[in-house]
Symmetry: C3
Subunit: 131 residues, 3 copies
């Protein structure tokens, strides 16, 4: 298992980590198989979405804010329940197929780390399977 | 890796692809293991839900439309931000266990391709692990 | 493949199943690899979230109820469409990395079974990969 460290800079932030993952896949020397990407936090998650136009990331954060408003009658005393809900909706693990040493992503896809309770120091776990 | 091609017919459409996947699993000759199903698009996703009553698919599309309304102040210039948000909520990869050559799904479960910005020609990546 | 049985007690309930999964991983004797956790139902799902403060589970159920209200004009005759939508949003499969015989989860993370149409007898499928 390998661990990537990420420093987030805002309370809510979507960060494209595709190139970080691709570099690790290359370093691990996996040619054929898959990689599991796992976020070990409860107020951060992982999605796949567009890596080209940054406005998509802004729109996702905005739409999630409408779906899970800060104003609901939450009971969790730490005050970060919306972040917990958003992280659960996004999910925490991805499985990406690897072929000829490359991540099998679509043209516009980026692996996106989702911070919902930053800024914080975060980690991402990677585990590769060769087959 | 195998690739399935799907032709969607509406802007929003949920398509049961269970039998397509089952046929590929059989063709690959996997007896014990698992299959990764991956959608390489940013405005389409993948969920598991009921394959029996088509009204469930309609209700899911309707509820997602209420959660992620077209009327929000999106900034992405292509005008399809709701599709991006919905695809991220659904997710892009599934891992289904295979036992004795069969997909281990529940009685009512169907593997469901989710189109949110069609009609389009779409692809689904498959990768099987034998163990 | 192993199967865990769960008895849910309410219509909506989030149940921490981390220790059940950890026990199975130990029984299977997996030291290095991963485990696939799969919920074979259409009105129940699987998320990862906080296992410490039970108020987080309550807040997630409440926020999902606001996102997917019972009052929408659903057409599915069984009357449990909100449960189908919530299950699809949560998802049905998780992949957890195993290292030295232990689940690689974050400090606060718990593997959480999500009941949205209980009380019922439910099942969880487990499949481990050693590598």
């Amino acid at each position: 298992m390998r661990i990537i460290e990420i420093e987030t800079r805002s309370r809510e932030e979507l960060i494209d980590i595709t190139s970080l993952i691709a570099r690790e896949v290359q370093a691990m020397g996996i040619k054929q198989g898959g990689i599991i990407i796992f976020v070990p936090h409860t107020t951060a998650g992982l999605i796949i979405n567009e890596n080209a136009d940054p406005s998509v990331k802004r729109d996702i954060i905005m739409a999630l804010g409408r779906m899970v408003p800060d104003s609901l009658p939450y009971t969790h005393s730490e005050g970060n329940s919306p972040a917990h809900v958003k992280a659960s909706l996004c999910g925490h693990c991805l499985y990406i197929i690897i072929k000829e040493g490359k991540l099998c992503l679509g043209t516009w896809q980026g692996i996106t780390f989702c911070e919902f309770d930053g800024p914080r120091r975060r980690r991402v776990f990677l585990s590769a399977i060769s087959y």
